[in-house]
């Protein structure tokens, strides 16, 4: 990028100091990445979510705009752009305007440290995982700001709820992530992935019973942090109308949704990185395309994406399966269940590491066997449910 900046400087902008050109190039790159990569990504996730929700509810979902409705999010986005930008009279105007950008900022800065492949990462920070959690903090401020700035009591309640929720759930998130950090001995995402392997028995998910539990804690805690159902209390539409985004319309409203779906992706990425081996691809497969080639990187990217999408699918399915919890129950769940179990897991992993520095393969295989059995049983139940319902089979996802 530096060469590019120098090139730009020499060819077009030689009147300006190099540092300014550098800055412009950096912002330009960020702009391109945001618009060209992250935004379509969030949009695509919204499409996926809508289609999954539709099929869960025996509907079809958006299928008119573009091939199979794939461009629906673009249509929605353009529509939002043309919508009247309403600012309520009683709203605190500056805060009302800034809030969506803060939420947006908080969510999208986290993309900086996501390891898409062994080399494709914007910044491999030494404190990557902490950075991910820290960016969530900016989102909280944005949500509270939106809640207050709207000048509506429902929004305010939503903002307060979201703040209480995200702050509380940062603790189990941190604790559960700590188990993987302990095992890897590093806060850098790339190093955590490198410490694992491509095969399931090398993942931290199956490393020992404590990480196994920690994975689920992290899953729940991250779902809660992203304000996703069943923890979508800040925007609980049946209680708070629409929570902190009640008064928003048009593009500002869209920003909140961008952030929500971007978080969905980040959630998958964090879980994949910490527990599911990230972008790791089996050696033999990697060798067949050449370990240093672009194809290998793409392969890694594909593996990483696949794992993320499985998790995203689960989160989406979770949203359309369960009811919303109540505020006090959510706090109960955090402080009475997730936090103690999280502490138990951290202590357990530490002791496990002391007792068995090299891990116990027997336990790993047992956990894998258990999980496989559960998955098989799950699919059996799905089959039974399907049979009982006497419905027609339709496997094509694009009807």
């Amino acid at each position: 990028m530096e060469n590019f900046a120098i090139h730009i400087h020499e060819s077009y902008l030689y009147g300006l100091p190099l540092s300014v050109v550098n800055l412009i190039v950096m912002f330009g790159a960020a702009f391109v990445v945001l618009l060209g990569f992250v935004a379509p990504f969030a949009g695509l996730l919204s499409f996926i979510e809508r289609r999954i929700a539709a099929r869960i509810q025996c509907r079809i979902g958006p299928n008119r705009v573009g091939p199979q409705g794939l461009l629906q999010f673009l249509a929605d986005g353009v529509k939002s752009l043309f919508k009247e930008d309403l600012i309520p009279k009683v709203a605190d105007k500056p805060l009302f305007i800034i809030a969506p950008y803060l939420v947006f900022l908080g969510m999208f800065t986290s993309f900086v440290v996501l390891p898409f492949s062994s080399q494709w990462i914007v910044a491999d920070l030494n404190v990557g995982i902490l950075y991910l959690f820290a960016t969530a903090a900016i989102t909280v401020v944005g949500l509270v700001m939106a809640g207050w700035g709207s000048g509506s009591k429902w929004s305010m309640l939503g903002g307060m709820r979201s703040a209480a929720q995200i702050i509380s759930y940062e603790i189990p998130t941190g604790l559960a992530a700590l188990t993987a950090i302990l095992l890897a001995g590093s806060l850098s995402l790339q190093e955590i992935i490198a410490a694992q392997g491509p095969h399931p028995w090398q993942w931290y998910f199956f490393d020992n019973p404590f990480t196994f539990i920690a994975f689920f804690i992290l899953f729940v805690a991250l779902v809660a942090e992203g304000n996703r159902a069943p923890f979508d209390l800040p925007e609980a539409e049946t209680e708070l109308v629409s929570g902190y985004n009640t008064e928003y319309s048009g593009m500002r409203f869209l920003f909140f949704f961008f952030a929500e779906w971007a978080h969905l992706y980040v959630l998958g990425a964090i879980l994949t990185t910490l527990f599911l081996g990230g972008w790791q691809v089996p050696e033999s497969l990697l060798a067949s395309v050449g370990a240093e080639s672009i194809a290998a990187r793409i392969l890694e990217l594909v593996f990483f994406q696949l794992k993320i999408y499985v998790l995203v699918f689960l989160v989406v399915q979770l949203r359309w399966t369960v009811p919303r919890v109540r505020m006090d129950q959510m706090m109960d769940m955090c402080w009475k269940y997730l936090v103690p179990i999280g502490f138990f897991c951290v202590a357990g992993v530490a002791i496990w590491m002391m007792l068995f520095p090299d891990g116990v393969s027997f336990v790993k295989y047992l956990l894998i066997a258990f999980s496989s059995a559960m998955v098989l049983y799950y699919f059996y139940k799905v089959y039974r449910n399907f049979k009982d319902s006497r419905a027609e089979l339709e496997l094509n996802p694009f009807v």
């Binding site: 929700a53 009591k153 609980a236 209680e239 369960v322 009811p323 919303r324 006090d328």
Partner: protein, 371 residues
């Protein structure tokens, strides 16, 4: 403590996603916990009762649909019964069966929508859509039967407007056969869910005494442990010929009379309705569907009150005749209206989210409150 907190006055409704139409609640809350919620009704008042005085007797039938649009058949039936009583009409047995079939089908879809709405208000969107999916199937049946999907106005004074279309019994039985597994699945998906249990069990408990004192009716009353069903205890139409049980709240997950009980009682009532329908289809005799009716309906001077068990409970029609073609007075007594009265008492000290659950579990329908 020295910290003074100020009560926040929240205006919940008339446009709020969970007030099911246009009801307004004036909520005083201290953060998440409410100190009181006062219902404010009347936003959907359309003077239906007054319209009844300017319509002819038959002409008021479509308006009863609008009184309770979610169980229009039951509302139709009640009105037809009160006019028939005034006129002293005997109606053919086949018509009675047809009315009961329609009413029970309507009870199923009214309840299933209510169940879906409770789940929706608690935050699960899928059960609501699945419930609507089943509701649509019944709507198809209803459309085949009487030509309309929501405001049926199927029942006529002296009988019903149409006989069953050909193949209706087979279609209905096929629907019921598919519907039973759906109900099992629905039970598995919603009331057995831990979060759902936590959200509804012990929430909005209406004790037996309160339920009677505040004149709750129908499923809400039965959920509080009062074994009272007009179809059995003040029987009408062909119900004495049919076998059915009256489900009562038992407090399986919390206390008797909580929101969970109201949910479960509705599920059980749906199952009873299925069995009722099957019996009706087996027993229905041949014959006329519309009896001999006078060309001009002029009942003798007098008054009459008829109670029927609608989806939302005791629905009463009070009619005064002055001997002319129009009724002198029409009054409708509905279950939703009495349900509203108890909200203020029960909601004290409740959480905001629980108020939503509570209102949904009472299954109030705004037009039925206001008429």
């Amino acid at each position: 403590m020295g910290i003074q907190t100020e009560e926040m006055m929240l205006n919940m409704g008339p446009q709020h996603p969970s007030t099911h139409g246009v009801i307004r609640f004036v909520v005083k809350s201290d953060g998440e916990v409410m100190t009181e919620a006062v219902p404010d009704v009347g936003y959907l008042h359309r003077s239906i009762e007054k319209i009844g005085e300017i319509c002819e007797y038959n002409g008021f039938m479509p308006y009863t649909d609008r009184a309770d649009y979610l169980s229009a058949m039951n509302a139709n039936q009640g009105y037809a019964m009160v006019v028939e009583k005034l006129l002293g009409l005997e109606i053919p047995e086949r018509a009675e069966y047809l009315r009961v079939i329609a009413a029970e089908l309507n009870r199923i879809i009214s309840h299933i929508l209510s169940l879906g709405a409770v789940a929706m208000d608690i935050g699960a969107a899928t059960p609501f859509v699945l419930a609507l999916k089943e509701r649509e199937k019944v709507n198809d049946l209803m459309e085949a039967l009487c030509g309309q999907r929501l405001t049926y106005s199927y029942v006529r004074i002296g009988g019903v407007s149409y006989d069953m279309p050909p193949g209706f019994i087979e279609r209905s039985l096929k629907f019921l056969a598919d519907f039973e597994p759906f109900m099992d699945e629905f039970e598995n998906l919603v009331p057995e869910n831990k979060i759902f249990i936590e959200r509804t069990a012990g929430v909005g408990v209406i004790t037996r005494e309160d339920a009677i004192a505040y004149n709750l009716v129908g499923p809400n009353l039965r959920a509080s442990g009062v074994d009272w069903d007009l179809r059995r205890d003040m029987t009408y139409s062909v119900y004495p010929k049919l076998q059915f049980e009256v489900p009562v709240g038992v407090g399986s997950q919390g206390v008797v009379g909580d929101s969970f009980d109201r949910f479960i009682v509705r599920i059980k009532e749906i199952k009873q309705s299925i069995s009722l329908l099957k019996q009706c289809f087996a027993q229905i005799p041949e014959g006329d569907f519309l009896g001999e009716i006078p060309r001009v309906m002029k009942p003798a001077v007098g008054e009459c009150y008829v109670r029927t068990e609608s989806s939302r409970g005791d629905m009463g029609y009070y009619l005064i005749s002055d001997g002319s073609k129009n009724a002198f007075r029409v009054r409708i007594r509905t279950g939703s209206f009495t349900s509203m009265s108890i909200i203020e008492k029960i909601s004290r000290g409740m959480m905001l989210a629980d108020l939503v659950t509570f209102i949904a579990s009472l299954d109030v329908v705004a037009p039925e409150i206001d008429r």
